[in-house]
Symmetry: C2
């Protein structure tokens, strides 16, 4: 299954300057980068089900089968599109200049925003390996926590907890967007079956970012390094 790693030729490097000039009248040449970029456009516009090798080729002005020279199969298009969307254009201010808590909050909010800009990314994440951009973000998260004083023995728990929280929050958010009026539809069915969550208007509360921040604060309280306590 995971064996066939042969087909994807690495080929984004433009050799050494000689570049045949692109004919101005036709589409630019096919390339991995262009394929991935267009795939993201298509996913943004049409969602996961909207990405089709045929439609992708149409947008690129090429034949369907031309894609397969650059790409193993449709799965790998998903993988590439997913990771491409999660690149972290680091915070401009010097890292470490501020409180570790706000550093982490900033990082996670940026992460959340990146995923919500491309809602399809959330549904892809549950079934795909972690690409380099995700790993970079995890690395940065780990480094920050470590510098903040989280013991090595507690580091994995802290990293995964924050990641889990983040992923769940974006899932919840996109799930509500995509299912649209259904939330409204299920809420007002008055009285009987769900008294507590109706009283608290759980499904009507749309202060997503506020809820995200408060919950994150709570989690950070529990994760914060203290002199005596370790996460037993």
């Amino acid at each position: 299954m995971a064996a066939k790693r042969s087909g994807a030729q690495g080929k984004r490097s433009q050799r050494m300057g000689v570049e045949p000039p692109p004919q101005p009248n036709s589409e630019p040449a096919l390339s991995l980068d262009r394929i991935v970029l267009t795939a993201v456009e298509l996913l943004d516009a049409q969602g996961v089900d909207g990405l089709t090798m045929r439609r992708l080729a149409d947008r690129l002005g090429s034949g369907v089968m031309s894609l397969y020279w650059h790409v193993d199969n449709k799965e790998s298009v998903f993988d590439l599109a997913l990771d491409s969307v999660l690149g972290y254009r680091g915070s401009p201010q010097i890292v470490g200049a501020q409180d570790w808590r706000t550093e982490i909050i900033d990082m996670l909010e940026d992460w959340r925003a990146s995923m919500l800009r491309h809602p399809w990314s959330v549904s892809l994440l549950s079934s795909r390996a972690l690409g380099p951009n995700i790993l970079s973000r995890l690395e940065l998260l780990g480094k920050t926590l470590s510098r903040a004083g989280v013991a090595d023995a507690d580091l994995n728990v802290a990293i995964w907890s924050l990641w889990n929280y983040l992923m769940g929050a974006t899932i919840t958010r996109t799930s509500f967007d995509l299912s649209g009026g259904d939330r409204a539809a299920s809420q007002p069915r008055a009285g009987e079956p769900y008294p507590t969550i109706e009283r608290s208007r759980l499904l009507c509360d749309d202060d997503w970012i506020g809820i995200f921040r408060k919950g994150l604060d709570a989690l950070l309280v529990g994760l914060a390094p203290s002199q005596n306590r370790s996460l037993k």
Copy 2:
């Protein structure tokens, strides 16, 4: 989009006893329940991509188009299968008998286990509305938190935080299972790019349940009601 709620006839009620006896030599009659049950089997066996209206009909011994009398379309098969798998067969012991903290931990661990038993459910959740069984679990969660003393103003944050954490944890888990050796493949690429998470062996740590519990403890620390503090 959400308008067409017409097609799905409610029809599981067996009228009043007269039931034509099922011919022992042929398949039992088609029914919504049987369709959903078989869909779950198929999803368990073949994953999300393995569920096909044609394959489903085959398993049921019927023509493809027969399904469409019981069901609006393939989407609704997904919705029904998802919710069917999340039913909570409540804890046998009387609720409220124990510490609220262990009550909640038990609930969430049961929830986690239910989803991991059907890994496809995780990837479906990000794009689908919340069915009645999910709402029931959220209600129970809310009730328990409320009884434990969480203020109404903090209730939604507490519920969603736990839910987010839970969803993220199961996503992470299934993502690692499905992508198989890729974790191993990305980890040993030694040295350079991800020093922190390699030092902590983040991607090799497979004590999933332990990590889940410890992170949950941390979150509960932050969410626990205290006399003075509210989640500001």
